[in-house]
């Protein structure tokens, strides 16, 4: 559909390739954290506050210590001197951000249901579970702050040392007067308020940790089900106070993350400290119900978005105001999560002026942090829901209002009103193709027929066009946002003596298929079989440099580092080949894994010959180091900006309020694709995760701060039975920000799908006068809206 420029000529990149990761995962050979057999390990179990807010007035550990198999019990006081620093928050988004001290075990007061108040160390997981039942904690329950609206008032301040529940206020208002003027002059002024419920990320593998000490030489190996072994090593070393080089972090097979394993958690620090103390391994595996209070939640914000538009519906300004829930403490990157959306509340529309403000508050609930999309799903939801409202106000179709406002293709690279540079885009074709896939006109006709016939099963169509910023991130941009680290990624590419290749990556997979994709890139460049490329990762002793996997960054940043390192290896190989062929390096062609002299096809040497020559080093050019290897750390110049259009068709049963998803089409553009199989899989899963926010999932809390959906019987992760087959297509608009022309695709599906479904639900009900449904669109919620609209009860 679009002209495709790709640097790949090897015939491997761009074609679907089955994953090399699969056989181990399909047979039980893969080792997840709890699968590790660790002789002599003690088991940790955590006594967690059942109260959202309570003073701890006494802890009696004697009964627990009497239980067979229980080795020790520790309270916050017992370990008060064990920490060199509190649990880290690496993103102080403002200079005056309030960040209450957060230690692995609470002392004096528990600030959410799930806050650890004591830990048990025992000889087995069963004994540890028994042990926590034996710890008697006296609590003086306190009133809890459970809503962001309540928190904002400071009626009840959670952290005395902060003096307020407001952690920070962050503003992006480059031209405040221009925004005011635009709204004053607007023909249409749309104001919409939406709520993003709390979500529980729910990687299918619960978290787990094992700390294995070497007491005599001081080494510590930390196994953790984490997305971020590299970041964790730095942060854990600082938190525990052990030298960074003495801490090795290994992420074994990791069963999904979705952002919730992008953190530094109390249990990781506790296992290290207790392994030091006991001189033996200490391990912990999370229970699913426990996870509602031990692993971060996502979303949880209220957003008000205002659109100013002229009479034709052309946007003239966008203003967004957020109130975000941080939970009880600031986790690793939590303050920055709303800000990852801060630049995108105008979506993919050409808007002259822009304003964004976010206030983030503490509540007595489980801390929040990154969850698939992190800030961009929220932004996309706001603008896409509001665009539908604008379409109604202007009196044009939902498709037309978008077409009128898309950033025109000729404006790329586009200077956004929020100060970003959108790298490349061509939006209209994705809308056109999605309409075609979904039979837009046919469905609209069917909807009209049903309405005319007085049907009580209402059809709704919802569009969501999106752009997102990913490939985190240019380090200088992160510096401007006060992020505590860089956004580079590291790679080493090494050709072994037998022409097999070793790739070392700092990107840490947890299901994405990095090994397969990285091997494809390198094999395509080198003209060899992907099976001859080994990919090493997830162990700080094997891959010491890395910034890990989140923010759809692995390919655009980590993959680029690999591509660049491979190019460097080829350059070196070319020099050696030229020496071997007694030719000028500039006269050599490299194709199909062989160097040949241009115009003299008989003069050639295969890469294998060069690799062996580089290994033996018997006859290298003067001054050249032996071996073929290169190490690259790539720091991108810009984010990448994938985009697309998704359309959902739903049916709403007026009598019950039940919403059924009938059809779904998605047309996405992530630039050049390395492995279309992986792209499709990421989209499938991402789309369903976003639909789940729209229709099912809700980490609902009661007025006392108790999570009413703490386990998978109550927290409605959908099954195959609730989902449908999706229709996918794509366009290709390469990114100019990296040499492969790639963009991320890990979060796009989730970013796009939630507003598509909610727009469809509202579209179905709009003739009744309904303009919003609170997520999730549960049958009761929908039915209540219908009853209210019909002016009576059932």
């Amino acid at each position: 559909m679009t002209v495709t420029e790709t640097p790949f000529t090897g015939g491997i990149v761009g074609k679907p390739r089955l994953r090399r990761e699969d056989p181990a995962l399909l047979t039980g050979e893969a080792k997840f954290i709890d699968d590790l057999q660790i002789p002599g390990a003690l088991w940790l179990a955590c006594v967690r506050s059942p109260y959202a807010h309570a003073r701890i007035t006494g802890i009696d550990t004697s009964a627990a210590l009497a239980i067979a198999g229980v080795v020790a019990v520790y309270t916050g006081e017992d370990l008060a001197d064990a920490w060199a620093a509190p649990l880290p928050c690496a993103w102080p988004v403002t200079d005056d951000m309030k960040n209450p001290a957060h230690y692995p075990i609470a002392q004096g007061k528990a600030n959410y249901a799930g806050d650890i108040v004591a830990v048990v160390v025992a000889e087995s997981r069963y004994a540890a579970a028994d042990g926590i039942e034996g710890v008697v904690v006296d609590y003086e329950p306190l009133e809890a702050v459970v809503t962001i609206e309540d928190a904002e008032t400071d009626r009840l301040v959670i952290h005395d040392d902060c003096g307020t529940n407001v952690s920070y206020v962050w503003e992006l208002t480059p031209e405040p007067d221009a925004v005011t003027a635009a709204f004053a002059a607007a023909e249409h002024h749309i104001t919409e308020t939406f709520v993003h419920q709390r979500l529980i990320p729910t990687a299918m593998e619960p978290r787990g940790v094992a700390a294995v000490p070497a007491p005599h030489n001081g080494d510590m190996t930390l196994y953790s089900s984490t997305q971020i072994p590299h970041v964790l090593r730095v942060m854990a070393a600082l938190t525990v106070g052990i030298p960074e080089q003495k801490l090795r972090v290994i992420a074994p097979s990791v069963g999904g993350g979705f952002g919730c394993k992008l953190n530094v958690y109390a249990e990781e620090i506790l296992c290290i400290v207790l392994a030091q103390r006991h001189g033996v391994p200490v391990r912990w595996t999370e229970g699913r119900t426990e996870a509602a209070g031990s692993t971060v939640h996502g979303r949880a914000q209220r957003q008000t978005i205002e659109l100013a538009a002229d009479a034709d519906g052309k946007l003239t300004a966008v203003r967004a105001t957020l109130l975000a829930d941080m939970g009880a403490y600031l986790q690793l990157v939590a303050p920055g999560v709303p800000l990852l959306g801060a630049f995108l509340y105008h979506g993919l529309y050409d808007v002259p002026v822009y304003s964004f403000t976010c206030k983030s508050v503490f509540t007595n609930l489980t801390p929040t942090d990154a969850y698939r999309g992190a800030g961009r799903p929220e932004a996309t939801y706001a603008i896409e829901r509001a665009m539908d409202a604008l379409a109604v106000a202007v009196g044009v179709g939902q498709d037309e209002i978008r077409s009128r406002n898309f950033i025109p293709t000729e404006k790329f690279p586009y200077d956004s009103p929020a100060g970003l540079i959108f790298d490349s885009g061509n939006y209209q074709p994705t809308l056109d193709r999605a309409k075609e896939l979904i039979d837009w006109d046919g469905r609209r006709a069917e909807q009209a027929e049903r309405r005319a016939a007085g049907s009580t099963t209402h059809l709704g169509l919802g569009i969501s066009s999106y752009v997102e910023m990913c490939g985190l991130a240019p380090s200088r941009t992160l510096a401007a946002l006060n992020y505590g680290a860089g956004g580079w990624e590291s790679a080493t590419v090494r050709i072994l003596p037998t022409c097999k290749v070793q790739v070392v990556t700092g990107a840490t997979p947890h299901g994405q298929g990095h090994e397969t994709c990285w091997s494809m890139i390198v094999a395509d460049q080198l003209g060899i079989d992907p099976d001859d490329v080994e990919v090493l990762h997830s162990d700080t002793s094997i891959s010491p440099l890395g910034m890990d996997t989140y923010g759809s960054r692995s390919l655009a940043v980590g993959g680029t580092a690999i591509w660049m390192a491979t190019e460097q290896v080829i350059d070196k190989a070319r020099a050696i080949a030229a020496h071997m062929l007694e030719a000028n390096a500039d006269d050599l062609e490299f194709a199909g894994g062989t160097f040949s002299v241009r115009g003299s096809p008989d003069k050639e040497v295969p890469l294998a010959g060069v690799a062996f020559g580089a290994f033996t080093a018997h006859d290298l050019p003067d001054g050249m180091e032996p071996n073929l290897q290169a190490q690259v750390t790539f720091d991108p110049s810009n984010f990448v900006f994938p985009f697309g259009t998704h359309i959902a068709v739903v049916e709403v049963d007026e009598a019950t309020g039940a919403v059924e998803l009938l059809d779904y089409a998605a047309v996405d553009d992530c630039g050049n694709q390395i492995n279309p199989l992986i792209v499709e899989g990421q989209l499938h899963g991402g789309i369903v995760q976003g639909i789940a926010q729209a229709l099912w999932e809700d980490a609902a809390y009661d007025a006392d701060g108790q999570c009413r959906a703490a386990n998978l019987a109550d927290y409605l992760v959908p099954s195959a039975a609730e989902c449908i087959d999706m229709k996918l297509d794509h366009t290709v608009t390469p990114s100019p920000s990296n040499p492969m022309g790639v963009k991320g695709i890990g979060e796009a599906g989730t970013i796009a799908s939630t507003p598509a479904v909610m727009n469809a639900v509202v579209d179905a009900l709009r003739p009744m006068g309904i303009t919003d449904i609170t997520m999730p669109a549960s049958p009761m919620t929908v039915r209540r809206a219908i009853e209210a609209a019909q002016g009576g009860s059932a």
Partner: protein
Amino acid sequence: MIPAAVDYVLADSAEAAIAALTEAGDEAKLLAGGQSLVPLMRLRLATPSVLIDIGRLDDLSGISIDGDTVSIGALTTHSALEHSADLAAACPLLAHVAAQVGDPAVRHRGTLGGSLAHADPASDLPAAVLALGGTLVASGPGGSREIAATDFFTGFLESALGPDELLTEVRVPVSTGGWCYQKFNRRAQDWAIVGVVVAEAGAGVALVNMGSTPLRASGVEAAVAGGASAGDAAAVAADGTEPPTDNNADGDYRAHLARVLTERALTAAGA
């Protein structure tokens, strides 16, 4: 999560199970398929001191049809009910409802007797047996007795079974008249938010998850018997109920659903 420590007795006969129950007192729990009990034990919401495993009592499993009566051993699994050609012919409603329980893995292990004895108002099968006008057979130290399904469910997770009694058999009449089960939930694997079972074209109607026990909708039955339309009969479906409130529904919404689903079920069942 991990169950609390518990003693275990494997019963090799119904008599042995009853003897073990009598000896252990009310700290004992019978273990059949365990599909309700084991999850409660994992969350330590149930902490029996002894489990009496009746899961191997094969003579308490099986379906037989004698004249107008279908007799089903208490340990017959949901899966066996679902796949029984005899049951599909004699009482298709029960076979269908069994196929709606939990998921396939649960149905392979869960038993009819276990489901009834657990007496969960949100379960499918208790309401089906109620709508069918079934009879339950309990054995205790003093011998066997029959309990009408209408008398069996006495409270939330409570039944008329004595602490030393064992459910051995469930009898339902052969029933091939119009039937329907309307199960309303948000995910296929979940318990019904509300369910409505209609047997014999509305002669038997029972409600799932509309109170502390599975409920017989006698008002609906009477209306149907009196010749009311499906809509009119369904209008009284929630009368006298005290439906629970949870994440998915409050009482008012459940009452509304009961009416909507009853009308649909009656219509489908040809009432």
